[in-house]
Symmetry: C2
């Protein structure tokens, strides 16, 4: 084998990064998903249980093992954060050990090895340029310096970094002629960021004034992962490792812990453990920190210190994670480690094989999942005949508001999609809350699992009850009844309301001598048409008939209610307008009420004195009168409404004045009032409880969905003391005999406690306006208005975390609208937005803490997609200007 | 201040332990709860992020700070596991630093300091006795040896330990006369177990042949915590710290990780962090390992190394855990640290105050909880009027099958109670599974939170569906429909069955031209009287009328079924007998079938050919015939049964032959069959699915409760391919339009995947019989038989994880029985068994992995309580001997 060392200054276009400056970079963040990586080859993150455990030795060993077999291959080594630079440079160490090893053990074919340094702090740049020195890592510091090329200085970047343009390269000629006809193998090493001081990155960044945000760092990392793959999608023989700094939970440059910083990528992990005394504990704890952040650890590897640490580790892992032991590293500082690398090759080869087989298994599973899903899952609300395998989305993980999905395009990749349907309206957490919730879930499962609720008390259930009564139940509720979901919460609410009604109307019912009489008495609810309260029979009965309640779905359904058509409001062509149902479209309802100067005006309590209010009142009275049963057997015994927004009914905003008057009319007749806040509760509409928007209080209220932050099912039915008292008596049969196995389960309660506190704490929720109980406006008003002006848009409702857009779909356009919506949704998924329509209504829903920047960027994409789709569809492209 | 050193050989009765030998100790395990500790004073465990971070310095500093103020006080320092003994002895170090410090800074009052060594390995004992030397810890090894007293050798204990009876004591005379009239303060240091080699305890224990099991270690620890408190219950000024060995996850002597080993006590924790480079990561990871095992960490403390590690730590903790920084420890090995302790006193005093205020807050909360619970919670199935505050159980945590409850007796304590009601029949995990589930819950919340299910796929949902179809759905099911609880699973099952029935009887129903006809068609279920399927209306309708379905509970209930009284079987006076309902008590049913030679005989399929089988068959045919509606509008469209055991109906065992014939008769008439396995599924009755016991297959099956191991709600409705096909078509309206927000939520699916695998893996479930799909007999047959012979007992059903005992309650005894049951339950709770009765039926339920030893001990206690209660009640005390 002949060694030729070739030195040259590489054209800077090799480093994609240099062609972009910061502003360009920021712009890119908004145009395509930041979190995206190819699945064409294994990419691993190398973590360690502590500092100085040999991550770089493992990286170097892997590079040697990987590149030493058949070629051509490419090994990419990335060091995103390097402190102590240039005295310490792990990428240089990997580069140098590689060519030193090849000098000792030549390969038959050629390899091109290189080491790049992208951005370094000013002190580090000075040091690098002043000395031309790049040192090794750890005990190999004393290595000589060779073949260093420093490019011209490229001037300062933002935030105190310089583009030093440092690059070194060696062509290692193969020993056999003719082996290079398919190109040579390559080792690419990169240091992304370097700081001079040998301290924790967050300190170095601060002291040297060279700061890099988490988002920016990930963006650069993404491009380093991807930039060497252009035009090379088919190449399989690539391996990439990303080496972290220090331990798993060591702070990164921004101060975020590295395990949190890199979480959006959720790359599979290799953990370098600790073979010393006490090292079992540190290794296990580090592993657990990775696990409770959702990482998969493919293998643990550590240096042998003769303590057999692998035995308890294997027992802990129950053989599910391979544990590899490296020979002891020579203590002699002058040892060049080449013999050690040679001796360790078998271990590194095993590690490499584990990394490849883990990768292959993952890919296999990702590809198999859609087919298997179509074959054995039974999705709710889904006509399976309409879901071909290729339409199934494989969700690999979620991070805050975003899914990471598997995409198969020209090549496989993991890509980010904003969960715009908030996974059936349950989602609230940002990435930070998700991680804290995860830790709390581990804690609660370990502390309580689940424990029996009746006649018992335990902290999470009690604390949640306290928080609910101080929060959404403030001023009216006195008791909390737990169940599992919105539907059960509503069934319980109905049972409460009926009992309260019977309790208040005892003359109707001789409670001591009942049976025969009872079954003649018919209790009904009042509800609004278009409202939805759940899919169990009791909840269904409180809904107006619809295709969803048909005989084919539940032959037992009959619809036990007086169902009223509500007046609705929405933004239409830039204006907030009132829409009256047919029954109300009489001369009594004056025309002046058809539009509002702003959304706030709709909620104003001075509307109570308006003529419209009077009209509503008399309309309601008349309806109640018409439905009175003269025989005395049929009674309206409960009102149930979704405050402000009827969600499943197409995100319809009901006139809050109408709902308020309806509530008052019922309460004045001793008809118990139920608010179904399953959808509207917990900031969904910008206030903690949407009763605040209605300015009136119910007797009973149902919560679920967002209550737990959207990670786990739990529901609560809150009741006033008067309702509770209707169940207190001298017989167990008077008690409310409804319960589910996991009533008030500890994990659900803890998730709710955490989320409720998080959302209403202005240190964790930046969207809270000062001390008020209100979220700031999340959807850019001008943009919302513009969307409503688009001819393809019929109406818009933007309120709290919801922005719903009804597409034009009148008459013959209905079919068109659904086609239109489906092309729109397809385009939006490509743009990184996961949306599900409700018929011709599309909507986006964020969490209470989602930043307005993100909301704006999502809404912009939606607007662009509407514009584009309507152009494609050949619809009117002129924008109607009305405002 | 005068110093008088008094040396003497302390009578060994001071060390309660020495009076008991191993067998006595084991016997005690079964007579009272092992896990119990007083709440009269703070008891903390001192953990560390790694070895050699200064746990012992913290302990010594705390002892000085605590005892230096007003007296009398007692500081108890316990070192359960000491390796490197006697060269290293942390208890000696604490003892010595304490008196050295007092020599430097005298107190006005007297203090008695002592150091005890309980059990050491033979090599350690030799070393101790040979040299009379007890060394210090860490850098203070060079300390002189004084005042050592070694008692006579007490001979070998079991398992390679010796009772060395080592004891040293110093009376430190106070400087002021008259300050000692209330007795002197005391420092008590104890080493519980010592090994000679300075390696990880599991290695030392193995190499030196001195083994101590986890259970035994906890028992000794409990007695060390409690033994110095006898007759001292009122004393408030006590503090106890237990110092662990190495890092949080370092193995203990048995190989169990210490954080797992000590988990049953779940004592509050102080974490000694790492102030060095890389120490932030190690500290956070150690904290997380404690959290995901359910520990509460009161404070983090570490030695300053000038790196400001407290800043990122405080940011990580968001100020919820105090972080304290100790001055740098002198590097000079000859430094006696007395100045350092003096300099550190302010920090130790802060730490002590945090420990006391955390303790006080906890006590306050524990005392307030019952009242608050009574005021704001609304328990299901509970007449609140009957639950006075003092009857409320405060559950502090659970560990495997046991609760840790707060008890107020002559003093407050935390005590263990076996969860004999399996928290409404949900529970399965042992302590190991609980910890693994906790880690998996953290992982799943971090990886997925919850993600949208329809048309999507993600690993936990798919893997669970695969496991269900390979397991409980094997050979018949092809689809999995997820929901939240048993009740929703049943509502879905009914919708499936009705559709299938309509699909098979299309002549009845012109599906394309329906509406008017539809509502005339009345679909009914067949169900067995006494069965229970849930509390939502649809599930209620499938149950026979009962007090629970009355008008006062749900005015909409009417009971849409043909409800049959089933024949039951049980053990009565030592014999398995058949009980026929009145309707069947005709001459046709031959008398020879009234008893069985064994329980197994009941399940034998050769009964299919018996005369009884023929009787059942004709009875069923006749009932179906009688209920046929000649008009053709009313149809029986589904059968729903709980296989083998009707749980809520009083743990009634239905004759499996009857159920099997009923299933066959329905299937032959194309009536879809639903098994409600919400209670019976997943090993509850000794087989994974109880359909295996019935030897027949349903068309639809419901699972919940134990499916997730009992930590979180999730339900699944399994269906055959024929059922699924009835929902496939060209319209979305033909799809099953029923769904809940958290359908197939990732955490529930992951918990189920983990639990299902755990229960059926013979490496984790020791109760599995070989390769069979059967649990071994968990309840001692002889004991069960004896219980059934007791005159106070009417019947017994022991099957799988269930042992139900119906107390005699005929005629005028009904009231008596409930009184009797309540005194029985009270006594059992005192004995550490938490039970809830079903009327006059008491039962105990364990997990699929609970050891037969535990089951036996529980059953023995129950038998003893029955005997005792019946004596107290003056009932017949003679034991009827019939077998």
């Amino acid at each position: 084998m002949h060694f030729t060392t070739t030195l040259f200054l590489v054209p800077l276009r090799r480093h994609g990064l240099y062609n972009h400056h910061h502003h360009h970079l920021l712009r890119r963040l908004h145009s395509k998903p930041v979190i995206e990586y190819p699945l064409t080859h294994p990419i691993y993150t190398i973590w360690a249980a502590n500092t100085s455990l040999g991550k770089t030795l493992v990286s170097a060993g892997l590079s040697i093992s990987f590149l030493s077999t058949t070629h051509p291959k490419k090994f990419i080594y990335l060091k995103p954060v390097q402190t102590g630079f240039p005295d310490y440079s792990d990428s240089h160490f990997v580069y140098r050990k590689f060519y030193e090893f090849l000098a000792y053990k030549p390969l038959p074919f050629s390899v091109l090895a290189s080491n790049h340094v992208l951005r370094v702090s000013v002190p580090a740049a000075k040091s690098l340029l002043g000395t031309g020195f790049v040192g090794g890592s750890g005990k190999s510091d004393n290595f000589g310096i060779q073949n260093v090329v420093v490019s011209e200085k490229k001037g300062k970047l933002l935030n105190g970094f310089e583009n030093v343009g440092f690059y070194e390269e060696r062509k290692l000629q193969g020993s056999e002629i003719g082996t290079d006809e398919f190109g040579s193998s390559e080792l690419i090493c990169k240091t992304m960021h370097g700081w001079k001081e040998s301290v924790s990155p967050h300190l170095a960044a601060e002291r040297e004034g060279a700061l890099v945000g988490d988002y920016e760092l990930l963006e650069i990392l993404k491009r380093c992962i991807g930039s060497d793959l252009d035009g090379n999608k088919e190449e399989l023989d690539i391996m990439c490792v990303i080496e972290t700094a220090g331990g798993v939970a060591s702070p990164g440059p921004s101060g975020s812990l590295q395990c949190d910083l890199y979480r959006p990528f959720r790359l599979p992990a290799i953990l370098v453990g600790d073979g010393r005394l006490g090292g079992i504990s540190g290794t296990i704890s580090a592993y657990e920190s990775l696990k409770v952040r959702g990482y998969d650890v493919a293998a643990v590897i550590f240096e042998d210190h003769g303590l057999m640490n692998e035995v308890p580790l294997l027992s802990y892992f129950r053989n599910r994670v391979p544990v590899l032991v490296l020979p002891p590293v020579p203590q002699d500082m002058s040892d060049d480690l080449i013999n050690w690398f040679d001796k360790s090759q078998a271990v590194f080869t095993s590690l490499k094989e584990i990394m490849f087989s883990t990768f292959t298994e993952r890919m296999q599973r990702l590809h198999d999942m859609p087919k298997k899903a179509c074959n054995i899952l039974w999705w709710p609300f889904t006509q399976h005949k309409f879901v071909p395998q290729e339409n199934v989305t494989v969700i690999d993980s979620r991070c805050g508001e975003n899914f990471a999905v598997h995409k198969v395009q020209s090549f496989d990749l993991i890509s980010q999609q904003f969960d715009a349907c908030a996974s059936w309206w349950t989602q609230g957490p940002d990435a930070s809350l998700q991680i804290e919730l995860a830790r709390d879930m581990g804690y609660t499962a370990a502390r309580y699992g689940h424990v029996m609720f009746p006649e018992n008390v335990y902290e999470p259930a009690l604390e949640l009850a306290e928080l609910l009564l101080e929060g959404v139940g403030k001023e009216w509720a006195s008791r909390v009844y737990f169940s599992d979901n919105g539907s059960t919460a509503v069934e319980i609410a109905l049972k409460m309301a009926f009992r309260k009604f019977l309790f208040d109307n005892e003359v109707l019912l001789d409670l001591t001598n009942a049976s025969m009489v009872e079954r003649c008495i018919d209790l009904k609810v009042i509800a609004l048409r278009g409202s939805y309260h759940g899919d169990t029979l009791g909840a269904m009965e409180a809904q107006a008939p619809s295709p969803y309640t048909g005989f084919l779905q539940q032959p037992w359904y009959k619809g036990r209610g007086l169902f009223l058509d509500p007046p609705t409001v929405c933004m239409h062509n830039g204006l907030w307008k009132l829409y009256l149902p047919v029954k109300m479209q009489t001369e009594k309802f004056e025309l002046e009420y058809v539009s509002f100067s702003s959304r706030d005006e709709i909620f104003k309590s001075n509307r109570d004195g308006s003529g419209l209010a009077g009209c509503y009142r008399s309309f309601i009275s008349q309806e109640l009168l018409l439905n009175r049963d003269s025989s005395g057997f049929s009674h309206i015994a409960a009102l149930i409404i979704e405050p402000v927004i009827q969600a499943a009914g197409g995100m319809q905003m009901v006139d809050p004045l109408f709902q308020r008057i309806l509530v008052r009319e019922c309460q004045s007749r001793k008809i118990p009032v139920i608010f179904d806040e399953v959808f509207t509760g917990f900031w969904r509409l910008g206030t903690e409880s949407s009763a605040e928007l209605l300015c009136c209080q119910p007797d009973i209220s149902c919560f679920a969905k967002l209550m737990t932050g959207g990670i786990i099912p739990l529901a609560a039915t809150l009741a006033s003391d008067a309702v509770f008292k209707a169940f207190v008596g001298d017989s167990k049969l008077k008690a409310l005999l409804h319960g589910h196995s996991y009533s008030a389960h500890a994990m659900g309660c803890m998730a709710a406690v955490k989320s409720i506190k998080w959302f209403k704490d202005c240190t964790t929720n930046v969207n809270l306006i000062g001390e008020s109980r209100l979220l700031q406006e999340l959807w850019d008003s001008e943009l919302v208005c513009q969307i409503s002006l688009h001819p393809a848009v019929h109406r818009v409702v933007a309120l709290g975390t919801l922005c719903a857009i009804e597409l034009q779909a009148e008459g013959s356009n209905v079919g068109y609208a659904s086609m239109y919506a489906s092309s729109l949704l397809k385009k939006l998924r490509e743009d990184g937005i996961y949306m599900r329509p409700l018929g011709n209504v599309i909507y986006v829903m964020c969490g209470p803490c989602t930043s307005t920047q993100v909301c704006r960027s999502i809404l912009e994409k939606i607007f662009a997609a509407i514009q584009e789709s309507s152009q494609v569809s050949g619809l009117a492209t002129c924008v109607v200007e009305k405002l």
